[in-house]
Symmetry: C2
Subunit: 139 residues, 2 copies
DNA sequence: AATGAAATTAGTAATGATTCTTATTTTTAA
DNA sequence: TTAAAAATAAGAATCATTACTAATTTCATT
Protein backbone atom coordinates (compact mmCIF):
# COMPACT_ATOMS: atom_id res chain seq x y z
CA UNK A 1 0.00 0.00 0.00
CA UNK A 2 2.04 2.87 -1.28
CA UNK A 3 1.47 6.08 0.58
CA UNK A 4 -0.45 8.64 -1.41
CA UNK A 5 -0.43 12.33 -0.83
CA UNK A 6 -3.35 13.89 1.04
CA UNK A 7 -4.02 17.46 1.99
CA UNK A 8 -5.66 16.35 5.19
CA UNK A 9 -2.48 14.62 6.32
CA UNK A 10 -0.35 17.62 5.37
CA UNK A 11 -2.52 20.01 7.32
CA UNK A 12 -2.56 17.72 10.35
CA UNK A 13 1.22 17.39 10.34
CA UNK A 14 1.71 21.12 9.79
CA UNK A 15 -0.62 21.99 12.62
CA UNK A 16 1.16 19.64 14.97
CA UNK A 17 4.50 21.21 14.09
CA UNK A 18 3.25 24.61 15.19
CA UNK A 19 2.36 23.32 18.65
CA UNK A 20 4.63 22.34 21.47
CA UNK A 21 1.85 21.50 23.92
CA UNK A 22 1.20 17.94 22.71
CA UNK A 23 -2.45 18.24 21.68
CA UNK A 24 -4.95 15.40 21.69
CA UNK A 25 -6.69 14.09 18.56
CA UNK A 26 -9.74 16.13 19.42
CA UNK A 27 -7.75 19.36 19.73
CA UNK A 28 -6.08 18.62 16.41
CA UNK A 29 -9.51 18.03 14.90
CA UNK A 30 -10.96 21.29 16.17
CA UNK A 31 -8.01 23.32 14.90
CA UNK A 32 -7.60 21.64 11.57
CA UNK A 33 -11.25 22.29 10.79
CA UNK A 34 -10.38 25.95 10.40
CA UNK A 35 -8.55 24.98 7.22
CA UNK A 36 -10.62 21.95 6.17
CA UNK A 37 -14.08 22.53 7.63
CA UNK A 38 -15.54 19.17 6.70
CA UNK A 39 -12.60 17.00 7.72
CA UNK A 40 -13.73 13.95 9.61
CA UNK A 41 -12.58 13.08 13.12
CA UNK A 42 -11.87 9.58 11.84
CA UNK A 43 -9.50 11.05 9.28
CA UNK A 44 -7.65 12.87 12.03
CA UNK A 45 -7.29 9.70 14.07
CA UNK A 46 -6.25 7.64 11.06
CA UNK A 47 -3.59 10.10 9.99
CA UNK A 48 -2.23 10.65 13.48
CA UNK A 49 -1.90 6.88 13.82
CA UNK A 50 -0.32 6.60 10.38
CA UNK A 51 2.16 9.41 11.06
CA UNK A 52 3.05 7.83 14.39
CA UNK A 53 3.51 4.43 12.75
CA UNK A 54 5.96 5.79 10.19
CA UNK A 55 7.79 7.74 12.87
CA UNK A 56 7.00 11.26 11.71
CA UNK A 57 5.28 12.10 14.98
CA UNK A 58 5.17 10.54 18.44
CA UNK A 59 2.16 9.25 20.30
CA UNK A 60 2.31 10.09 24.00
CA UNK A 61 0.50 8.03 26.60
CA UNK A 62 0.72 9.90 29.85
CA UNK A 63 -1.84 8.05 31.91
CA UNK A 64 -4.71 10.49 31.54
CA UNK A 65 -6.72 8.20 29.31
CA UNK A 66 -6.23 10.32 26.19
CA UNK A 67 -3.49 10.06 23.61
CA UNK A 68 -1.36 13.13 23.00
CA UNK A 69 0.70 13.76 19.88
CA UNK A 70 4.07 15.40 19.44
CA UNK A 71 5.73 16.50 16.21
CA UNK A 72 9.07 16.48 17.99
CA UNK A 73 10.31 12.90 17.69
CA UNK A 74 13.72 13.57 19.19
CA UNK A 75 14.46 11.85 22.48
CA UNK A 76 13.05 13.85 25.35
CA UNK A 77 10.92 13.38 28.41
CA UNK A 78 7.66 14.87 29.59
CA UNK A 79 6.14 16.28 32.72
CA UNK A 80 2.39 16.09 33.30
CA UNK A 81 0.78 18.52 35.69
CA UNK A 82 -1.59 16.66 37.98
CA UNK A 83 -3.70 19.78 38.40
CA UNK A 84 -4.13 21.27 34.93
CA UNK A 85 -3.12 18.26 32.85
CA UNK A 86 -0.64 20.14 30.71
CA UNK A 87 2.19 18.17 29.15
CA UNK A 88 5.52 19.95 29.25
CA UNK A 89 8.84 19.09 27.57
CA UNK A 90 11.76 18.51 29.90
CA UNK A 91 15.39 19.28 29.35
CA UNK A 92 17.43 16.46 30.76
CA UNK A 93 20.01 13.90 29.78
CA UNK A 94 19.19 10.52 28.34
CA UNK A 95 18.39 8.01 31.08
CA UNK A 96 18.44 4.86 28.98
CA UNK A 97 21.06 3.49 31.33
CA UNK A 98 18.24 2.46 33.65
CA UNK A 99 17.59 -0.39 31.23
CA UNK A 100 20.94 -1.88 32.23
CA UNK A 101 19.67 -2.39 35.75
CA UNK A 102 16.77 -4.44 34.43
CA UNK A 103 18.85 -6.64 32.16
CA UNK A 104 20.85 -7.82 35.14
CA UNK A 105 17.87 -9.74 36.52
CA UNK A 106 15.56 -10.26 33.56
CA UNK A 107 15.21 -13.02 30.98
CA UNK A 108 13.73 -11.51 27.87
CA UNK A 109 14.40 -8.70 25.49
CA UNK A 110 14.03 -5.12 26.64
CA UNK A 111 13.27 -2.82 23.72
CA UNK A 112 13.00 0.36 25.73
CA UNK A 113 11.26 2.15 28.52
CA UNK A 114 8.58 4.75 29.04
CA UNK A 115 9.24 7.41 31.64
CA UNK A 116 7.32 10.50 32.48
CA UNK A 117 7.24 12.79 35.46
CA UNK A 118 4.27 14.25 37.25
CA UNK A 119 3.57 16.85 39.90
CA UNK A 120 2.50 20.47 39.86
CA UNK A 121 3.64 22.81 37.13
CA UNK A 122 4.98 26.28 37.77
CA UNK A 123 1.70 28.03 37.02
CA UNK A 124 -0.39 25.73 39.22
CA UNK A 125 2.15 25.97 42.05
CA UNK A 126 1.83 29.77 41.94
CA UNK A 127 -1.94 29.64 41.83
CA UNK A 128 -2.20 27.33 44.83
CA UNK A 129 -0.07 29.81 46.76
CA UNK A 130 -2.56 32.53 45.96
CA UNK A 131 -0.10 34.09 43.57
CA UNK A 132 -2.19 33.76 40.45
CA UNK A 133 -0.13 35.03 37.52
CA UNK A 134 -3.24 36.44 35.80
CA UNK A 135 -6.53 37.53 37.30
CA UNK A 136 -8.13 34.18 38.05
CA UNK A 137 -10.80 33.54 40.63
CA UNK A 138 -10.11 30.89 43.21
CA UNK A 139 -12.38 28.02 42.19
CA UNK B 1 -18.11 9.15 54.35
CA UNK B 2 -16.87 6.54 56.77
CA UNK B 3 -15.85 3.33 55.12
CA UNK B 4 -18.24 0.49 55.76
CA UNK B 5 -17.41 -3.14 55.49
CA UNK B 6 -18.47 -5.03 52.38
CA UNK B 7 -17.98 -8.62 51.38
CA UNK B 8 -17.59 -7.59 47.76
CA UNK B 9 -14.61 -5.42 48.62
CA UNK B 10 -13.05 -8.14 50.75
CA UNK B 11 -13.35 -10.72 48.02
CA UNK B 12 -11.92 -8.35 45.42
CA UNK B 13 -8.93 -7.51 47.60
CA UNK B 14 -8.37 -11.16 48.51
CA UNK B 15 -8.51 -12.22 44.89
CA UNK B 16 -6.01 -9.57 43.90
CA UNK B 17 -3.63 -10.70 46.60
CA UNK B 18 -3.55 -14.20 45.13
CA UNK B 19 -2.43 -12.91 41.76
CA UNK B 20 0.89 -11.51 40.72
CA UNK B 21 -0.03 -10.96 37.07
CA UNK B 22 -1.71 -7.57 37.51
CA UNK B 23 -5.21 -8.39 36.28
CA UNK B 24 -7.58 -5.90 34.70
CA UNK B 25 -10.96 -4.97 36.18
CA UNK B 26 -12.66 -7.37 33.80
CA UNK B 27 -10.45 -10.27 34.84
CA UNK B 28 -11.13 -9.46 38.49
CA UNK B 29 -14.84 -9.40 37.70
CA UNK B 30 -14.84 -12.77 35.97
CA UNK B 31 -12.94 -14.43 38.79
CA UNK B 32 -14.75 -12.85 41.68
CA UNK B 33 -18.06 -14.02 40.24
CA UNK B 34 -17.09 -17.54 41.24
CA UNK B 35 -17.58 -16.47 44.85
CA UNK B 36 -20.25 -13.79 44.38
CA UNK B 37 -22.13 -14.77 41.21
CA UNK B 38 -24.29 -11.68 40.99
CA UNK B 39 -21.61 -9.09 41.76
CA UNK B 40 -21.81 -6.16 39.40
CA UNK B 41 -18.99 -4.99 37.17
CA UNK B 42 -19.61 -1.48 38.47
CA UNK B 43 -18.99 -2.72 41.99
CA UNK B 44 -15.67 -4.17 40.90
CA UNK B 45 -14.63 -0.89 39.29
CA UNK B 46 -15.82 1.18 42.24
CA UNK B 47 -13.96 -0.94 44.77
CA UNK B 48 -10.78 -1.17 42.74
CA UNK B 49 -10.82 2.61 42.49
CA UNK B 50 -11.57 2.97 46.19
CA UNK B 51 -8.82 0.54 47.20
CA UNK B 52 -6.36 2.35 44.94
CA UNK B 53 -7.39 5.72 46.39
CA UNK B 54 -6.75 4.61 49.95
CA UNK B 55 -3.46 3.02 48.91
CA UNK B 56 -4.31 -0.62 49.55
CA UNK B 57 -3.69 -1.55 45.94
CA UNK B 58 -1.96 0.10 43.00
CA UNK B 59 -3.48 1.05 39.68
CA UNK B 60 -1.10 0.41 36.77
CA UNK B 61 -1.32 2.30 33.52
CA UNK B 62 0.99 0.60 31.10
CA UNK B 63 -0.10 2.19 27.86
CA UNK B 64 -2.31 -0.61 26.60
CA UNK B 65 -5.52 1.32 27.16
CA UNK B 66 -6.66 -0.86 30.07
CA UNK B 67 -5.97 -0.35 33.73
CA UNK B 68 -4.23 -3.13 35.60
CA UNK B 69 -4.30 -3.62 39.36
CA UNK B 70 -1.64 -4.82 41.75
CA UNK B 71 -2.04 -5.81 45.39
CA UNK B 72 1.69 -5.29 45.88
CA UNK B 73 2.04 -1.61 46.69
CA UNK B 74 5.74 -1.77 47.48
CA UNK B 75 8.03 0.14 45.16
CA UNK B 76 8.82 -1.91 42.10
CA UNK B 77 8.82 -1.59 38.35
CA UNK B 78 7.07 -3.44 35.57
CA UNK B 79 7.85 -4.90 32.19
CA UNK B 80 5.14 -5.16 29.53
CA UNK B 81 5.53 -7.69 26.75
CA UNK B 82 4.71 -6.04 23.44
CA UNK B 83 3.64 -9.39 22.00
CA UNK B 84 1.49 -11.07 24.64
CA UNK B 85 0.71 -8.02 26.79
CA UNK B 86 1.70 -9.67 30.03
CA UNK B 87 2.82 -7.42 32.87
CA UNK B 88 5.80 -8.75 34.80
CA UNK B 89 7.38 -7.55 38.05
CA UNK B 90 11.01 -6.50 37.82
CA UNK B 91 13.71 -6.81 40.43
CA UNK B 92 15.81 -3.70 40.34
CA UNK B 93 16.99 -0.88 42.52
CA UNK B 94 15.04 2.30 43.08
CA UNK B 95 15.66 4.78 40.27
CA UNK B 96 14.06 7.82 41.88
CA UNK B 97 17.34 9.62 41.43
CA UNK B 98 16.30 10.37 37.86
CA UNK B 99 14.01 13.02 39.36
CA UNK B 100 17.10 14.96 40.41
CA UNK B 101 18.05 15.44 36.78
CA UNK B 102 14.69 17.06 36.10
CA UNK B 103 14.77 19.40 39.06
CA UNK B 104 17.96 20.96 37.76
CA UNK B 105 16.12 22.51 34.82
CA UNK B 106 12.48 22.64 35.86
CA UNK B 107 10.37 25.21 37.65
CA UNK B 108 7.56 23.42 39.37
CA UNK B 109 7.06 20.61 41.82
CA UNK B 110 7.89 17.05 40.81
CA UNK B 111 5.89 14.56 42.84
CA UNK B 112 7.24 11.47 41.17
CA UNK B 113 7.67 9.57 37.95
CA UNK B 114 6.14 6.67 36.09
CA UNK B 115 8.54 4.26 34.49
CA UNK B 116 7.91 0.96 32.83
CA UNK B 117 9.88 -1.19 30.45
CA UNK B 118 8.70 -2.94 27.34
CA UNK B 119 9.98 -5.49 24.88
CA UNK B 120 9.57 -9.23 24.43
CA UNK B 121 9.19 -11.50 27.41
CA UNK B 122 11.09 -14.75 27.81
CA UNK B 123 8.23 -16.92 26.57
CA UNK B 124 7.55 -14.82 23.49
CA UNK B 125 11.25 -14.62 22.68
CA UNK B 126 11.41 -18.43 22.71
CA UNK B 127 8.30 -18.77 20.58
CA UNK B 128 9.54 -16.37 17.92
CA UNK B 129 12.69 -18.48 17.67
CA UNK B 130 10.56 -21.52 16.94
CA UNK B 131 11.28 -22.89 20.38
CA UNK B 132 7.72 -22.97 21.60
CA UNK B 133 7.71 -24.21 25.19
CA UNK B 134 4.36 -25.96 24.65
CA UNK B 135 2.83 -27.27 21.43
CA UNK B 136 1.67 -24.09 19.78
CA UNK B 137 1.01 -23.63 16.06
CA UNK B 138 2.83 -20.81 14.30
CA UNK B 139 0.15 -18.23 13.66
C1' DA C 1 -5.16 14.30 -21.37
C1' DA C 2 -7.60 9.76 -20.29
C1' DT C 3 -7.80 5.41 -17.55
C1' DG C 4 -8.20 2.76 -13.65
C1' DA C 5 -6.52 0.52 -9.54
C1' DA C 6 -5.11 1.69 -5.01
C1' DA C 7 -5.34 4.88 -1.37
C1' DT C 8 -7.97 8.20 1.07
C1' DT C 9 -11.91 10.42 2.62
C1' DA C 10 -16.51 11.85 5.09
C1' DG C 11 -19.97 10.30 7.58
C1' DT C 12 -21.64 7.30 10.60
C1' DA C 13 -22.03 3.11 13.27
C1' DA C 14 -19.75 0.21 16.47
C1' DT C 15 -16.68 -0.95 20.21
C1' DG C 16 -14.72 -1.20 24.69
C1' DA C 17 -13.34 0.54 29.04
C1' DT C 18 -15.05 3.08 32.52
C1' DT C 19 -18.34 6.01 35.04
C1' DC C 20 -22.89 7.40 36.39
C1' DT C 21 -27.78 6.77 37.98
C1' DT C 22 -31.26 4.97 40.77
C1' DA C 23 -33.87 2.11 43.51
C1' DT C 24 -32.81 -1.39 46.84
C1' DT C 25 -30.07 -3.63 50.38
C1' DT C 26 -26.47 -3.72 53.91
C1' DT C 27 -23.76 -1.89 57.57
C1' DT C 28 -23.22 0.06 61.95
C1' DA C 29 -23.43 3.58 65.53
C1' DA C 30 -26.65 5.12 68.90
C1' DT D 1 -34.24 -1.72 67.33
C1' DT D 2 -33.73 1.96 64.42
C1' DA D 3 -32.35 4.99 61.01
C1' DA D 4 -28.82 7.43 58.57
C1' DA D 5 -24.89 6.54 55.80
C1' DA D 6 -22.66 3.58 52.74
C1' DA D 7 -22.72 0.05 49.41
C1' DT D 8 -24.91 -2.67 45.98
C1' DA D 9 -26.97 -4.62 41.30
C1' DA D 10 -28.51 -3.55 37.08
C1' DG D 11 -28.44 -0.97 33.44
C1' DA D 12 -27.84 3.47 31.02
C1' DA D 13 -24.54 6.86 29.65
C1' DT D 14 -20.02 8.67 28.40
C1' DC D 15 -15.84 9.15 26.07
C1' DA D 16 -11.98 8.00 23.24
C1' DT D 17 -11.07 5.37 19.56
C1' DT D 18 -11.76 2.14 15.69
C1' DA D 19 -14.40 0.00 11.95
C1' DC D 20 -17.39 0.21 7.93
C1' DT D 21 -18.84 1.81 3.47
C1' DA D 22 -19.79 4.32 -0.48
C1' DA D 23 -17.81 8.19 -2.79
C1' DT D 24 -13.70 10.81 -3.96
C1' DT D 25 -8.82 11.60 -4.83
C1' DT D 26 -4.21 10.35 -6.17
C1' DC D 27 -0.97 9.00 -9.55
C1' DA D 28 1.48 5.70 -12.50
C1' DT D 29 0.61 4.15 -16.94
C1' DT D 30 -1.37 4.68 -21.27
Amino acid sequence: MALKHSRQRDVIKEFLMTRKDHPTADVVYMNVRQQIPNISLGTVYRNLTLLADIGEIARLRVGDGVDHFDADTSLHYHFICSECGSVIDLKMDNIDHIVDQVNAHFDGNIAGHVTYFYGTCKDCTCKSRGLAPQSQPTS
